[in-house]
């Protein structure tokens, strides 16, 4: 969707580092090194030529020579997947992989998305981000995060399930999680990881080149250290320059137009991805950010609706509650949803959750009698008649004559008497 310069299929292919090649092993001038640093395994050839900081023809030639020397390999351009979206971390890139979710597998689509998302970000996240912990996390938290991710991604959890391409992804994710844990668990390697994550000044520190002579030591560790330095350099390369070139502005505009078009076609995933690309190319434009926020909220609205549909469909109340709560996450201001969740939690006997939801309903819309009465009901069930009375009082201040207020008042008083 972005390229009108596609002259051959090579331009649609994605250059990536050949396994084991490290940036320091590729002789390059600073300008060439800049182009090298753009190679992240998800930007196609044509894009690299455009963002490589040199005339496109020159970049094309350089990439070709690196390819010939075996530093690079080519991955096929993956059709629907949006390479630009992969510039982003976190949950956002899940849309990019949406096309690959396969409902025929023995995995919930949520889980598939989670796996795709995690897998897509594997190479970009630093070890702390990978484990979802703060840089300052202590050894205990490192281990806890590792165990939590193991519970989620260890291949044994999906033994014999029909997994399709997800089996390989899981293996990859789990291996990476283990790598992160092993490095952060050991104070010495952790110190090195931390040193490598510092934003600047590390380029000059040369990693020891891997060679057969070191075989007797611990090549695995060494390889992963080298790889880590490579990764941190790649992360650096995503910092955008301070001023935006006119070419970038133009590119950003095009992406935003594509986003608007996708929006018209109600293809929200693509719209979000394009809007994000627009922001990536020109972060100074507030309109792009506003547009992205609008698209995002639409995506959330749709997701919440899908979750609600599912919640209606499931027979198990506990599961329905889980789905409802997820929907609330996407639609935090929806008073109806909170009230429903509260009633459902009460039916399940989970009074604490019922209270949380009733309170948030009452906070969103305190002038609604039903919200106050809901609070009163939960409090009454909890045995806190004093607070229940206060809620009924607030309800009666809103409408003193409402019969449901009187009825609730009676129930509270009866309960208080024992």
């Amino acid at each position: 969707m972005y390229s009108d310069t596609d002259a051959n299929d090579q331009s649609e292919r994605i250059p990536q580092w050949a396994a084991g090649v490290e940036a320091l092993g590729v002789p390059a001038s600073p300008a060439e090194a800049y182009l090298l640093s753009r190679i992240d395994g998800c930007t196609p050839w044509s894009m690299l030529c455009e963002i490589g900081g040199m005339p496109p023809g020159h970049a094309d030639k350089l990439l070709g020579s690196w390819l010939a020397q075996g530093f690079l390999t080519l991955a096929p351009f993956c059709g629907e997947a949006d390479p630009g979206a992969a510039l982003w971390t976190g949950a956002h890139s899940s849309e990019s992989a949406r096309g690959q979710v396969d409902p025929s597998l023995d995995l919930s689509t949520e889980l598939q998305r989670r796996i795709l998302d995690f897998d897509a970000n594997l190479e970009r996240l630093d070890y702390f981000e990978l484990l979802g912990i703060e840089r300052s996390a202590d050894a205990r938290s490192v281990k806890r995060a590792y165990f939590a991710l193991s519970r989620e991604f260890h291949p044994d959890r999906y033994y014999r399930r029909k997994m399709g391409s997800f089996a390989a992804r899981l293996d990859r994710i789990f291996a990476k999680v283990v790598e992160a844990y092993e490095l952060l668990h050991d104070p010495t390697t952790r110190a090195e990881v931390e040193r490598n994550l510092r934003p600047s000044g590390q380029e000059s520190e040369k990693p020891t080149p891997a060679s057969a002579g070191e075989g007797a030591g611990s090549p695995g560790r060494l390889a992963s250290k080298v790889r880590m330095q490579h990764l941190s350099r790649l992360r650096e390369s995503f910092r955008l320059p301070g001023t935006v070139s006119s070419e970038r502005c133009w590119k950003a505009r095009r992406f935003f137009q594509a986003a608007e078009m996708a929006l018209e076609l109600e293809n929200f995933q693509e719209a979000a991805a394009n809007a994000r690309l627009a922001i990536a190319f020109d972060p100074s434009q507030e309109t792009y950010r506003a547009g992205f926020a609008a698209i995002q909220s639409e995506v959330h609205r749709l997701r919440a609706r899908a979750l609600l549909d599912r919640a209606r469909g499931v027979g198990d109340q506990a599961q329905a509650l889980e789905l409802l709560e997820e929907a609330i996450h996407y639609r935090p201001g929806d008073v109806e949803l909170s009230a429903r969740a509260s009633r459902l939690a009460m039916a399940l006997g989970d009074l604490q959750r019922a209270m949380t939801h009733a309170q948030s309903a009452a906070e969103i819309e305190p002038e609604r009698i039903s919200n106050q009465l809901l609070c009163a009901r939960v409090l009454r069930r909890c045995g806190d008649f004093e607070s229940a009375r206060a809620c009924v009082q607030r309800a009666s201040e809103l409408d003193a004559d409402a019969p449901e207020v009187a009825a609730e008042r009676q129930r509270v008083e009866r309960g208080a008497r024992g």
Partner: protein, 523 residues
């Protein structure tokens, strides 16, 4: 859904467990025993016997009764451990077609895999009788220090016995699962597993249902039978001293003494003195001879002190590998029958500075853990998750006969690692990749898992080509190795589906042969 059984295939005794309604149940055999002797015999009239029956006739049929086949499984005939055992075992060990150790019973040669299969089949039958339905899937345990060939042989044995082996897991790890079931707190435990023929020590961390193996060490040729052997040697020498008769070449007498020694050893765990009483042990010119001997606990402890101290060296190494000190261990779990011995409990307790935990049954915990892991796999049991490690380093041989490990021991599986190697001659066109497993720095002291040749490397000066070797090991411990020349792109890969000691043809033949045969049956 059919049940997955957990089998502890022990050197001297085997045990089977199954999960029922979320709880593990150790299945008793027809005789009411929860463990069965890992014994196989061909009787005088040609019948095949297994378990208790085999043990009962062992004295009269010593030459045709196989015990402790697990000590031989997956080992080469010329290995010194085998040669050492051959001198002590009443049955005959011969060399198989692949150079493996096999057992000759009359005119039939049995591979150790086949013997194990017969025992596994018996355990399967015990479980089937209890459950009232066929069983086709199992998790089988092996000593943590078993190498890949020994594991593969055990897998093959399961296949011959008519079961799909879902997973081979380490015995101490299984015991930790049994211990960890239903515990949600954070703790570090040591599992000290001294069985009939093997010794293992593992340090594990339990947290919120995740069981992580921190380190593992052991010795596959050390166990309760060594205690027995010491005692047998003691009895033989005492008897020679007082009666002047050497019984070490009398197979029947030897078997009786061995049996008696085992009983006395067990008795001495509770009593301070026990008696060996074997009437009519031999004949002399003056008439029949009897053997009567008092054995004191102290004598046994003196005899076996060195063995127990030897295990503590492994324990110390394992604790160190785990990055801990003995005092960091919250509980010491003892499994394997030999850990009932007071000396073992005391010395291990002294090492860790706390008495051993008494909460698991030393004979049943391993089978229980295997059944739990089977359930975790097939029933998607989410309460427990085992993070297992590879017990031995994996790597390749280098030109100078050295060993370059790519996946270190105690690495959590699944794992993948790669490394770049190069040539050592000008214009070298091919390299041989030899995949090894072990801890020695010299290639020849490690165990060869497989080899392949990467050819068509373009002519270059020595040291210039970059040959990338990648190792992958999956959760079941299957190893994949690939090698690639970076310049030419020439690549070769093998799955080190470790060949057991049986060729594919022989294995298939045995699967069919054992498929229809009910035990005990005709040879």
């Amino acid at each position: 859904m059919s049940h997955v059984i957990g089998i502890d295939l022990g050197t001297t005794n085997s045990c089977v467990a199954v999960m029922e309604a979320g709880r593990p149940v150790v299945v008793p055999n027809a005789g009411g025993y929860k463990t069965s002797p890992s014994m196989f015999a061909v009787s005088n009239d040609g019948k095949r016997l297994v378990g208790h029956i085999a043990k009962r006739q062992a004295i009269t049929n010593a030459e045709r009764t196989v015990h402790a086949a697990k000590r031989l499984i997956g080992r080469r005939f010329e290995a010194k451990e085998i040669q050492h055992s051959a001198a002590m075992l009443p049955y005959e060990i011969v060399e198989g077609p692949e150079g493996d150790a096999r057992i000759q019973l009359e005119d039939r040669v049995f591979s150790c895999t086949e013997i194990s299969a017969i025992i596994l089949r018996e355990m399967k039958r015990v479980a089937e009788e209890y459950l009232g339905e066929p069983v086709n899937e199992a998790v089988i345990t092996v000593p943590a220090y078993f190498n890949d060939t020994q594991r593969q042989c055990t897998r093959d044995a399961g296949r011959i016995a008519g079961m799909e082996v879902l997973r081979i897991i380490n015995e101490p790890t299984a015991a930790a699962l049994a211990y960890g079931l239903g515990r949600s707190g954070d703790e570090c435990i040591a599992v000290y597993d001294l069985g009939g023929g093997t010794f293992d020590i593992s340090i594990l961390e339990l947290s919120g249902g995740v069981v992580e193996v921190l380190a593992t060490a052991g010795n596959t040729f050390l166990g309760g039978e060594d205690f027995d052997r010491k005692l047998v040697e003691h009895v033989l020498s005492e008897y020679e001293k007082c009666a002047g008769v050497d019984l070490s070449n009398d197979l029947m007498a030897l078997q009786r003494i061995k049996d008696a020694a085992e009983n006395v050893k067990c008795d001495l765990s509770a009593a301070s003195v026990a008696e060996i009483n074997l009437p009519f042990i031999a004949n002399s010119d003056e008439g029949p001879l009897h053997l009567t001997l008092q054995v004191e606990r102290e004598t046994l402890e003196t005899l076996s002190f060195d063995i127990v101290r030897g295990t503590l060296d492994s324990v110390a190494r394992c604790v160190r590998d785990a990055g801990l000190a003995p005092g960091d261990i919250d509980h010491v779990v003892m499994v394997g029958g030999q850990t009932r011995m007071p000396l073992v409990r005391k010395m291990v307790g002294d090492f860790f500075g706390k008495p051993p935990h008494g909460g698991v049954n030393p004979d049943e915990a391993i089978a229980t853990g295997a059944a739990i892991q089977g359930n975790v796999l097939v029933a998607g049991e989410a309460d427990l998750l085992l993070l297992d490690v590879t017990p031995l380093s994996l790597g390749i041989a280098t030109f100078d006969g050295g060993f370059a490990p790519l996946i270190d021991c105690n690495t959590t599986v699944p794992a993948q690692r790669s490394h770049v190697f190069t040539t050592n001659r000008d214009d070298q066109a091919s390299v041989k990749i030899r995949v090894l497993q072990g801890e020695s720095a010299r290639a020849k002291d490690n165990h060869l898992l497989g080899e392949f040749v990467l050819s068509s490397i373009p002519p270059a000066r020595k040291g210039e080509p970059e040959i990338e070797v990648s190792f992958e090991i999956d959760a079941s411990g299957i190893v994949n190795v690939s090698a690639r020349d970076r310049r030419s792109g020439s690549a070769r890969a093998i799955t080190v589906q470790t060949t057991g000691t049986l060729g594919e043809d022989e294995l298939n033949r045995l699967v069919i042969e054992h498929g229809g045969c009910e035990l005990p049956g005709e040879v």
